[in-house]
């Protein structure tokens, strides 16, 4: 037998109303509410209270929004579902696919027949076959390039999808270089997405990335070589900085960024 007061005191009703429960837990709350009117009433009252508080923080939307929303809700095929069961989703995909396959099959059949009879009549079958073969080859090449491009994008730009990053633009009028520094604030990792920069002579010199703190402390985060195919490079880690600098140094043991060798600079905005 459930202790109704204890259940209400547990805070689960508030979580239910705030939509912070899993689907399983929501179902359990609803099952219990259907058995105990006191709990159903508590859900209703909590929901009512929160409705009032929501209205307290109201801000009037711009006047044009009413028409914009009316147009949006009436656009066909833009129905994002709040929730769809897996079975429904599978069914939908399945039926859509069947429709697609049927349409594609019908289209292919008609195209084939038309081609066949057309070619027979004009006696140009060989020429068309060669064209189709060429198109097929081109198509395969394009597909391969797309796969490579997609992989490139996924590899290079996944950093930008990290949940807690800070971006700092590094540039320099003098060197005409440009890079975006990506600071993963969760891991303190520093990445450079280099847009324009000269390749360094790996035998003689290296690029050095420096952090400068608010009290002027200069520390080397790491060194790196730049080749144009290496777009995003992980350079090192840093906990705090107000400015970043990149210098190109032939002396690997240099202790501080040398202004004469400055390639890139950027301040951390707040």
């Amino acid at each position: 037998m459930i202790d109704i007061n204890k259940y209400i005191q547990s805070g689960i009703i508030e979580e239910y109303v705030l939509n912070n429960l899993s689907e399983v837990d929501r179902g359990e709350v609803e099952r219990i509410a259907s058995l105990h009117p006191e709990i159903a009433n508590e859900i209703f009252e909590t929901s009512e209270s929160l409705s009032l508080y929501g209205k307290l923080g109201a801000v009037t939307a711009p006047a044009y929004m009413q028409e914009r929303l009316w147009e949006a809700v009436n656009k066909p095929n833009i129905a994002p579902k709040v929730k769809t069961t897996n079975a429904q989703a599978n069914k939908k995909i399945k039926s859509t696919n069947w429709a697609k396959y049927s349409a594609v099959a019908a289209f292919s059949l008609i195209t084939f027949l038309a081609l066949f009879w057309g070619v027979k009549a004009s006696n140009k079958l060989a020429e068309i076959e060669a064209t189709v073969k060429q198109l097929k080859t081109n198509n395969e090449e394009i597909n391969e390039k797309l796969i490579v491009l997609q992989k490139l994008v996924d590899d290079n730009y996944s950093i930008y999808r990290l949940p807690n990053i800070k971006l700092v633009i590094l540039n320099s009028y003098k060197s005409k270089s440009l890079a975006i520094l990506i600071w993963d604030k969760d891991q303190n990792d520093i990445y450079l997405d280099i847009k324009v920069m000269e390749e360094n002579d790996v035998e003689k010199e290296k690029y050095h990335l420096w952090s400068i703190t608010d009290i002027g402390l200069q520390s080397r985060i790491g060194t790196f070589d730049y080749k144009s195919e290496n777009r995003i490079i992980k350079v090192g880690e840093v906990e705090g900085a107000v400015q970043f600098q990149v210098t190109r140094e032939s002396d690997m043991n240099v202790k501080r960024p040398n202004a004469a060798n400055l390639i890139l600079k950027g301040n951390v905005g707040y």
């Binding site: 979580e15 929160l50 409705s51 929501g54 307290l56 923080g57 711009p62 949006a72 579902k81």
Partner: protein, 175 residues
């Protein structure tokens, strides 16, 4: 604002009736926009969130079940989730750190919030400081209980009980 009975409004929306849409907009858009704006901070993004939320509400209105809560709470959860998705996974804003959720900063960066916040905070100021904080983070800024526990460095169970007490306190001062 036009007073409307929820079952009539829901039926009108199912029937794709323009008047019902206008009523929905007039009665609820400002509250939903307020929530979207508090979470996203940017007018244009909040407008997109409001649009997404309205489309979801409109297309799924037949799924609304009054036994699970009020229509407004149902819509509010849709809007909050859309706003949270936008700031976490969208391209518009990379990251909204906790410290930028400070109200003073909101008012500076978005004057439209100032007036609404002054009203809201007048009511919330009657709450115990701790309770106000958790309610603010959970209800007005869309943080999950787990996230609040991490942000405020308090146990998960304490977050739940503080929210419960805050809602109860609010019921007394704003019945």
């Amino acid at each position: 604002m036009q007073k409307v009975e929820t079952p009539d409004l829901v039926q009108g929306l199912i029937d794709k009736d323009r008047k019902s849409f206008d009523t929905l907009y007039q009665n609820y858009s400002s509250a939903l926009y307020g929530i979207a704006l508090r979470i996203t901070k940017v007018n244009e993004v909040a407008e997109d969130v409001l649009q997404e939320a309205f489309v979801k509400i409109y297309k799924n209105i037949d799924r609304y079940d009054s036994s699970r809560g009020t229509l407004f709470t149902w819509m509010l959860n849709i809007c909050r989730n859309s706003a949270i998705d936008k700031i976490r996974y969208g391209r518009e804003i990379k990251n909204v750190p906790f410290d930028t959720l400070d109200l003073g900063l909101s008012a500076e960066t978005n004057p439209e919030l100032e007036l609404a916040n002054s009203e809201l905070w007048k009511v919330l100021d009657n709450l115990n400081e701790d309770h106000k904080e958790v309610l603010k983070l959970s209800y007005y800024f869309g943080y999950s209980h787990k996230e609040i526990s991490e942000i405020l460095d308090i146990p998960f169970g304490t977050v739940k009980s503080k929210i419960r007490i805050a809602i109860r306190e609010l019921r007394k001062i704003y019945p």
